[in-house]
Symmetry: C2
Subunit: 426 residues, 2 copies
């Protein structure tokens, strides 16, 4: 799209009320707008990144059999009393009365909802297993919300719930989900440690967390440098500087961002809601459940934290809002301007026709310096400059955001480099 | 997908607590689940319909220059005090205090939010016009919520906001938006009357509503049978039985469902938030705004209200959850069963490979009668039966949901009829 049509724009200075790097960069670049602490609006550039992350998540969830649903945020108190979580989660759940005096809350998670729904559809062993997921907005009244889009009071969540006839089947799917999670983070360009952690209010079993190493992390993860065995600090059976129980390597500690988690719920929720099935002999048994969460917005924030330099963001190709940032430098002379417009327009149209996502900086009165600074801030993988100089050389000036080198390329070479030869997976 | 993998299932009887036809059919068919009055969960089948509607809306909004954003539901009170709507909308807005004692609310609409954001990006006449939209969940504490997904307390809304340098430019876009709206409803199979109506809390000017004629309607629309000139009853300059002021035809009244509306906001919101621009002479002027709403969930409910018979839903092709309902009737003999499975599987795989969305009823112990009743209830456009009889005839039994006739078709004829020759628009 043309940059002048964007509902966005960059700020020279980082917003003064932000501490987190992701928030500073995303707000400066016009990816998000802050409505209040922990509550962000996704502007066109930011939404494109978020949608790319969502698309990757959907592909991987569909690939392991997930079927998509979309559940409500508004929740009746009675539903949450069945698991006592109306009380347990009262500190972080928005709970209020509607105009008729009824107690309602905003969902922080959906185990209660899916369990209630499952009683309608799961009756027999033939109805198992089932895997449903959604990408939907959750609300959480965080006491501190200083980590930008990483810890929001309102945030998107992908939550998958699985239903099984027994623990063995749950274990089997849990391992599949773990693999899908690793693929998601790899595809988004985020290196994660898979840690053992406690189950919180969900389960007494261990759960697993996907922790990205970053200075912006609010968690502390202990991990072995050699075999990558990792634990969340809170369970603490390994200690920094000591020897890894798995391989004998050295355990190190690091601040990390939790980008995903998976839990074996067992029968806690199915027993509370009566989600049971008749087995082959007709005997009724409780369903085993698992839950699997990723925050897509938090993941975008994490990508920003681990992929930037002092000049701005450096989006990995798979999640970048556009593949190409086409920057036209018009100069002052009318004849030069016309030549540059013609050449830049031609390239823009051609790339669009080839299915390449292009942000076209055709702003008239912005200086070359400002355009380059904006391109660095926005962090689109390929920057292609059209100017008097490039027109004279019958070439384009090409620079990847992640490397310093600038290269002159002919039309044909540029096309070969920039137009993806294979379609994106999925 | 295979019907046995769906998180869904049909109910023989309509739920007792539902009055509206759309809710009865959508719940019976497993398209939605009711969490509480006016709050519905979208299950896999329902979400597919909703996503089809959303895709049509996105195409038409993008075609008139709309750029997508995703704004927050949580809203600070201070923002809404600038237009006095914290008070004005208090009856229908969920308003509560967070744990720190701050007043927050859930957005019923986003004029305040977009106006605040626009002050960041609109400075000069060169920054105009701009068109942003979102498809996002809104909350509204409806005193009565008896119309199923048509009047929800939590519902999806597509809301577009336009920003203009003057009234003439707003008028021009308003007319374009009107055309896009008509295309959306036509594509979704809903015939609408475009009515003049009052502007509510948005504007003192007339607005326009898109009203679908249906017994389930909560509105009352007066319209001319000849020229289709229409008014919402509340403005009442025309009366039932009288003569149309435009063409001399007869004015009739009908209950209708409001499926969309468009408003010229003028400068009400831009003045409250200071959204202004410098014109060519440097003089500062207020921005003119318009807003344009459609409820995708309500539209699904309306499609259900106007497209059903006593046996179930009859989805128009463009929004149907699947194009083909492939029904395999296995019979009791093993050899027959194997033959039917082989033939049905072959057709299923082939249709999937051709990009046709198929729901495959391969449930083993469901009777032919139940399968046909379910197919009628779910309302998928093409029903294709594979059975002992069809295998013997080297053909398939094909029935369109909207017509009574059953036809035997050979593989080749079936493929020609069912595989779309052109890609869907967009």
């Amino acid at each position: 799209m043309r940059q002048s049509e964007l509902f966005g724009g960059t700020m020279r200075e980082a917003p003064k009320d932000e501490v987190a790097v992701n928030a500073k960069l995303l707000e400066r670049g016009g990816f998000v707008h802050k409505t209040m602490a922990g509550v962000y609006d996704w502007l066109p550039l930011g939404l494109r990144v978020l949608n790319n992350v969502n698309a990757i998540i959907r592909e991987e969830m569909n690939a392991i059999g997930g079927v998509e649903v979309f559940l409500s945020a508004l929740q009746p108190k009675e539903r949450w009393e069945k698991t006592a979580r109306w009380e347990v989660l009262a500190d972080i759940m928005y709970q209020f009365k509607d105009h008729s005096g009824r107690d309602v809350g905003l969902a922080v998670t959906h185990e209660e909802a899916v369990s209630e729904i499952a009683t309608r559809f799961i009756h027999s062993y033939k109805d198992l297993p089932r895997f449903i997921y959604q990408i939907q907005t959750k609300f959480r009244d965080e006491p501190r919300a200083k980590s930008g889009v990483i810890r929001g009071r309102e945030f998107l969540m992908k939550d998958l719930y699985s239903f099984h006839r027994d623990e063995a089947d749950l274990e089997k799917f849990y391992a599949k989900a773990d693999k899908a999670y690793r693929r998601i983070f790899t595809r988004c360009g985020v290196d994660v440690l898979v840690t053992e952690a406690s189950g919180g209010t969900f389960t007494k079993n261990f759960s697993h967390e996907y922790q990205a190493v970053s200075e912006a992390g609010e968690d502390f993860t202990l991990s072995c440098e050699k075999c990558r065995y990792a634990q969340n600090k809170e369970i603490s059976t390994i200690t920094e500087g000591e020897t890894c129980p798995k391989c004998g390597g050295v355990i190190r500690g690091a601040k990390t961002i939790e980008v995903g988690n998976i839990f074996k719920l067992g029968t806690k929720f199915s027993e509370a809601f009566g989600v049971s099935y008749a087995d082959e002999t007709g005997e009724r048994r409780p369903v085993f459940m698992g839950c699997y969460g990723i925050g897509p917005g938090r993941l975008v924030g994490t990508v920003a934290e681990v992929n930037h330099d002092e000049r701005g963001l450096i989006w990995p190709e798979a999640v970048a809002p556009f593949r190409v940032h086409l920057v036209a430098l018009f100069g002052k002379e009318k004849s030069v301007r016309q030549k540059v417009v013609r050449e830049a327009d031609r390239l823009y149209e051609k790339l669009l026709a080839k299915g390449v996502a292009v942000l076209y900086d055709e702003r008239g009165e912005t200086s070359a310096g400002e355009k380059f600074a904006d391109a660095d801030l926005l962090g689109i993988p390929w920057r292609v400059v059209v100017s008097e100089k490039t027109c004279a050389a019958h070439a384009f000036e090409v620079k990847r955001r992640s490397v310093a080198k600038v290269t002159m390329m002919s039309w044909d070479v540029l096309m070969k480099k920039i137009v993806p030869t294979t379609r994106r997976r999925g």
